[in-house]
Subunit: 134 residues, 3 copies
């Protein structure tokens, strides 16, 4: 398992972590397999989506905040119930194929750390699994 | 693959299954890897979120029921279209790192079986994958 | 990694790809493990849900379009911001147990390619991971 740090700057944001995941894949020396990216926090998530136009990230974050507003009739009193719910909807991990020793993302895909209760110092884990048969 | 049973008591609820998953990980004798938790039902899901304050679970279930109400203009006539849609949003599996022979969850994370069409007798599966290189 | 093609016929649709995934599992000759199904596109997703009643698929797609309408105050100007957001909510992969050499889906479960910006020629990848200990 390889752990990386990420510092988020605002309450809701998406941070491109593709380079760190690619580094973990390279260091694993696995040719064919799967990279699992995991966030050990309950008010954050991991998402794969378009990285070319930052407006796509803004649209995703904006829609999440419309579906799950900051303030509503939540029972949890720490002021971040919305962040827990967004985390539940987005999910805490992604699985990406490794092919020929590299992350096999689609042309437009990037891997994002999704912050829903920042700014904070966070981390995420990468585990690489080998699919080669012996 | 290790199969566990879970009995749900209400139509919508989240049942903490962390102990069972930890047991499967321990029995796998895997030191470094990934545990996949999978639900073979189409009106339930698996989620990781905060386990300390039960109000977080209530907020999550309440928001899901607001986004996807029990009754609406659904075509599916079995009365559980909402449960299928919630299952689609939450997802039928999670992947959790195994590190030093143990589930590597974050401080506040627990693994939940999410029931959307209970009460029922359900089950879930745990598969542990080894990340050690030979 | 095994890559499959799929041709989608409408803007929003779910295509049952269970047979292709089962074929990849069979060819992998893995007895116990996990099959990861991955979509390398940013306006599509992979979902497991009921395959018996097509109305369930229609209800899921209809609810997604109500939560994330085609037209709204999106910033992304390519006319498919809704598709990116739906992809973010549904997710780009699923993980299904392999048991006794076969996909271990629940009785009613099928694996679907979810198109949110069709019709298009698409593809998806299947990676099979071995859980047998040596």
């Amino acid at each position: 398992m390889r752990r990386f740090e990420v510092e988020t700057k605002t309450r809701n944001c998406m941070v491109d972590i593709t380079a760190q995941v690619a580094k973990a894949v390279s260091e694993s020396e696995i040719s064919e397999g799967i990279a699992i990216v995991y966030v050990p926090h309950t008010t954050a998530g991991i998402m794969i989506n378009e990285g070319a136009d930052p407006d796509v990230q803004r649209d995703i974050l904006d829609k999440l905040s419309k579906l799950v507003p900051l303030s509503a009739d939540y029972l949890h009193t720490e002021g971040n119930a919305d962040a827990h719910i967004k985390s539940a909807l987005v999910g805490e991990s992604v699985a990406v194929p490794i092919s020929s020793g590299r992350l096999s993302l689609g042309t437009w895909q990037k891997i994002f750390f999704c912050e829903f209760d920042g700014p904070r110092r966070r981390h995420f884990d990468v585990v690489c699994l080998n699919a080669d048969r012996q």
